[in-house]
């Protein structure tokens, strides 16, 4: 078997396996979200389906599938039905460029080289930002097409919010890109080779914080969950959705959570690298997985503790605080990198 054929086979396997793994993982993330929501509130969370309620998500899926799918009478039906897919698909695309283990080097699997990344793409960061921006359309279109005031408000909020936080997010990532000298996630991880004090979260602490906060906004989670702000807008852009269409939005949100936590670990916390080089005998994907779990837990913890900003406060934070901070971070990083380089 020649090497290109092997690479093709590996690629197909990875391209099928990764989404399946992610979706399975997401099902459990949803379960843990509910369980932990209970724990943070002194409750026990779901307990009935499966051991400790661990099959709750699958029960949810069955419930959602069996529910009636209502399309409002005066909704823009085509857009209304398309919106969940628009929200759902782009988040998967980012998975392709995230390395989950060593890339390159000698043969390591069946005498061939196995790259722990689906696509070793040179403009990975750009793809990340582009796909993040695309998935907003799902929310905005859902809000607009539902023909409901609450949905419309939710869609508008989501649109404005994502645009402003996208900027801060982009600028804070540029700091990392400058340090790594590449837009490729593989190179970014390679740039953080070594022990955990070599990772980018120490030099990029401001950028990392901005990125983390902006990512919460990107994820639509408290304190930035204004788009679906249950207490204000019923369910925001999801108000008119029911059954599996609603489920897809819900699912997309959690896929996004998983992907974003993978990205945070990759950009600032060394990706698949072990915190100490002596721990390198544990394979990379496991480290990445552990880091993702840590971040997912952190996101949950934040969500179940603090309250929501108001719309105008959110915007003023985005434009007046996060954007200047990320720009300052970028300037300082650029100066330091050029002085060193």
């Amino acid at each position: 078997m020649s090497d290109p054929v092997a690479q093709l086979i590996f690629l197909i396997v990875k391209a099928i396996l990764m989404p399946v793994l992610i979706i399975t993982f997401v099902a459990f993330v949803i379960y843990f979200e509910r369980k932990f929501a209970g724990f943070f509130a002194g409750r026990v969370g779901p307990t009935y389906l499966g051991p400790w309620g661990s099959l709750q998500s699958f029960g949810d899926i069955i419930k959602l599938l069996s529910k009636e799918d209502v399309t409002p009478l005066r909704a823009d039906k085509l857009v209304f039905k398309m919106a969940p897919y628009i929200a759902f698909i782009p988040v998967f695309a980012v998975i392709a460029v995230l390395p989950f283990g060593p890339v390159g080097g000698g043969p390591n699997l069946f005498g061939h080289r196995f790259d722990y990344v689906i696509a070793n793409f040179d403009a990975g960061v750009v793809l990340l930002l582009a796909m993040g921006a695309l998935s907003v359309y799902g929310v905005v279109l859902a809000g607009w097409s539902s023909n409901s005031n609450y949905s419309l408000l939710g869609g508008l909020r989501a649109g404005a919010q994502m645009i402003s936080y996208e900027l801060a997010m982009g600028f804070s990532v540029v700091g990392v890109v400058l340090m790594a000298g590449s837009l490729n996630f593989v190179d970014i991880v390679n740039g953080q080779a070594g022990n955990f004090w070599e990772w980018y979260f120490i030099p990029q602490v401001v950028g990392g914080l901005v990125f983390f906060i902006a990512s919460i906004a990107e994820l639509n989670r408290t304190p930035f969950d204004l788009a679906e702000a249950e207490q204000e807008l019923v369910a925001g852009h999801l108000t008119e959705y029911s059954g599996m269409r609603w489920g897809m939005f819900y699912f997309a949100e959690y896929v996004n959570l998983v992907v974003i936590s993978a990205i945070v670990s990759t950009l600032y916390f060394g990706g698949w690298r072990a915190p100490l080089t002596v721990l390198d005998f544990i394979p990379g994907p496991i480290w990445l997985f552990l880091k993702m779990i840590a971040f997912i837990f952190l996101y949950m913890w934040v969500r179940w503790t603090i309250i929501r900003y108001r719309y105008n406060q959110l915007m003023s934070i985005g434009w007046k605080v996060l954007l200047p901070l990320s720009l300052a971070n970028l300037v300082v990083t650029a100066i330091v990198v050029s002085l060193q380089g």
Binding site: F39, F40, G42, V44, W301, T305
Partner: protein, 175 residues
């Protein structure tokens, strides 16, 4: 707004403080009572579904059909027809209680001059059949097994027992 405040804001002291509280709740014992699996014991004063008590001497209900409960009932849910037995005892020929109207205020129990009608610890009253809410004299008499022990009659044997759980006491069960 001093430098200290800015630093405190920058390192999210306020939010971390809140998160520490929810963090302790995360690991603390949980207070949830998983209801159908485990049930709480009611207190002796609990006002549940009614029961008519039996007079151990006659074997009939203690009720003398004095109509006090039917009169005091704010929702007018008790319907009694009285009659006089051959021995000359006043006695309810029919004693019907419309549980769907009842507001469980406990006034009937309070005014009863012979302690015939009591409220029991039965609180699981949901039913698919409206007819179940129409409590006849037989149903009320049968329910006396669930009466609280503290009322004026001795508790009948065979009161059902379930998996019960003690009430959480503030500050004791947790932490």
């Amino acid at each position: 707004m001093g430098l200290v405040d800015i630093i405190k804001k920058g390192v999210f002291v306020d939010i971390l403080r809140g998160m520490s509280v929810t963090g302790t709740y995360f690991v603390e014992n949980k207070v949830t009572v998983e209801y159908p699996k485990e049930k709480l014991q009611t207190y002796p004063r609990f006002r549940g579904m009614h029961a008519l008590l039996t007079d151990p001497e006659t074997g009939d209900t203690k009720c003398v059909a004095c109509m006090l409960c039917a009169t005091i009932c704010p929702s007018r849910c008790i319907h009694i027809t009285g009659e006089v037995t051959p021995e000359g005892r006043s006695h309810p020929e029919s004693f019907n209680l419309d549980l769907a109207r009842c507001i469980f205020c406990g006034l009937c129990e309070e005014v009863c001059p012979v302690a015939a009608i009591v409220m029991t610890k039965v609180y699981e009253l949901a039913s698919f059949d409206k007819g179940d809410f129409w409590l006849t004299k037989e149903k009320l008499l049968a329910n006396q097994v669930n009466a609280h022990k503290e009322v004026f009659a001795a508790p009948a044997a065979g009161a059902p027992s379930g998996v019960t759980r003690d009430r959480p006491v503030a500050g004791e069960e947790e932490r």
